[in-house]
Symmetry: C2
């Protein structure tokens, strides 16, 4: 199928065409790369109206269960939903989040839902680029809620926060020694923290965790261009709190849209993406080009304290034939 | 004076020679740059035994007062102390932190103390490089406690956290609406949070703030290679809690030294510094070289959503004559 025909099929809501196109986007073959870039470029103008939602949380927090409950709630309201996963750790573990679609069996079968596991065998940079391109395809397919899930244990959170409009952090109930804790740096990214499993034996613990997170969030100033972060609690099991959670996410989105903050955030994300790719392209020159051997040697000398890092950097730049 | 003579004077503890050398480090004149790099390279082997302490906190939190109290406590114990400031905001404001040395009048007059305000008129990258070089000079001069102060409102905290062994965040007492709040991202950097002004009318509020910060820190996992963050309260006015604060900072340092974490953290910082300079050097090519006009145009197209950032990045790399 030509890119034009594929683009038309995706825009007509063809789920199989979308799945095939994402496979092309994930491929590293150079002819696939060219086709993917053409397709994404073609579809880019037909995107932008979805709420882009990042969801993160440590393993065991109940991410799949929550996404399934939220997803079913949304399709029940006539929304179209796509879920992508970012998990560069799957490179090492061999596994991948969302890999087992049966975890979200009921949701995955729905016509208005598209779920895609994280591609394996790629660096964070590679996964991030593919995810951004896949988001374009999903939005062109008609997703009006675009969920990007990540695993809550690494740098991928920062990458996802740079792709989405609203960032939701899931946290476990439990207090004191039981408290799993949120990885440093991640709470700072959250627009909304949702304490999961607020049901049964854990209901009281979830209540305490909710007030602890709310008070921790109050200690941090809101981001420059956003509302203060908020905390809620949910039970995916009892399907309780899901409507309140969605109301909060949607309220933030609508407010940002009205104030112009959404457009500014998205423009900043697009710029960061471009400059990130430029930096990666340039730095790869120092790792793969003629300066690579010099760079390796100097990296070692700098780590042992034998050489001043600024002087070493200048030697690497000189080896690249770059300017000061 | 030749670099060799200057180096010898600094190592002999000559405060005036240290001050002049830092002026050379801060200069952008190319002959000064060459002299500075030689000098820093010469002194680098004579450094590394100081406790490098980062101190941050929003304006009004009582940073100068705390540094003066802590500094007097340390020189009373026979320590030698240097204080440098990182404040790229002084570029805009025209002012500079530590600029008014009379704020630390008693401390600044002490023979075993060297205090230097933030150099004005530079970018964060420039200030960070000069600060790192100035740290080398101060440590070679004999500082065994090397304080790097920053202002708690910008990106400079991340830069400072990348230079120090222990990062101390100062926080104001007060609760509810009074709570000033800590800028997002900064609490995550803290090894120790100290609630200031735990005296007089604010004593009770400081107690409440202390337990709030302690509980917020418990919600975050410790850094990969460090102990969990802790919270203490101090009164610089009553000189109360200063000994406990120092004991906590020193305990962490000694533990890190024993476990090898200190050496690993410093090696990682040196590597980050080198690669940061390489990236800056490369990116400056895209802003000042023949590709600059292309880059400006594409940056705009990307922000408005007209062009896919990955495609724009490739065009910039092509314009630079770089490889994919």
């Amino acid at each position: 199928m030509s890119e034009r025909a594929t683009a038309a099929a995706i825009r007509a809501g063809d789920r199989a065409a979308l799945a095939r196109a994402i496979t092309t986007v994930e491929s590293t073959r150079s002819d696939h790369r060219i086709a993917a870039e053409r397709l994404v470029g073609e579809l880019l103008p037909h995107t932008g109206s979805a709420l882009r939602l990042g969801i993160s949380g440590a393993p065991g927090v109940g991410k799949s269960t929550l996404i399934e409950a939220l997803g079913l709630f949304l399709v029940g309201k006539g929304r179209r939903l796509a879920v992508l996963a970012v998990d560069p750790s799957s490179v090492r573990s061999g596994g991948s989040i969302l890999g087992d679609k049966t975890r979200m069996g009921e949701l995955a079968r729905h016509d208005h839902v598209f779920i895609r596991p994280s591609p394996a065998g790629a660096t964070l940079g590679g996964v991030a680029r593919r995810t951004r391109e896949a988001m374009v395809l999903c939005e062109a397919w008609g997703a009006d809620v675009m969920i990007v899930e990540t695993v809550g244990v690494g740098q991928s959170e920062t990458a996802v926060a740079g792709m989405v409009d609203v960032f939701l952090l899931l946290a476990s109930p439990g207090g004191g020694d039981e408290l799993q804790g949120v990885k440093r740096g991640i709470m700072e990214l959250a627009d909304v923290v949702a304490v999961t499993k607020a049901d049964g034996d854990l209901a009281a613990a979830a209540g305490r965790a909710l007030s602890e997170y709310a008070s921790a969030l109050r200690l941090m100033r809101p981001p420059a261009d956003g509302a203060p972060a908020t905390a809620v609690s949910v039970s995916a099991l009892d399907r309780r709190g899901i409507d309140g959670l969605w109301a909060e996410l949607d309220r933030r989105y609508v407010e940002m849209e009205g104030s112009g903050a959404l457009a500014r955030r998205r423009a900043a994300h697009a710029r960061d993406w471009m400059w990130g790719e430029v930096r990666e392209g340039l730095v790869s020159l120092t790792h793969n080009g003629p300066a690579a051997e010099t760079a390796r040697r100097l990296d070692e000398a700098v780590a042992t304290g034998a050489l001043l890092p600024a002087a070493a950097a200048q030697q690497i730049l000189d080896a690249l034939g770059g300017a000061r």
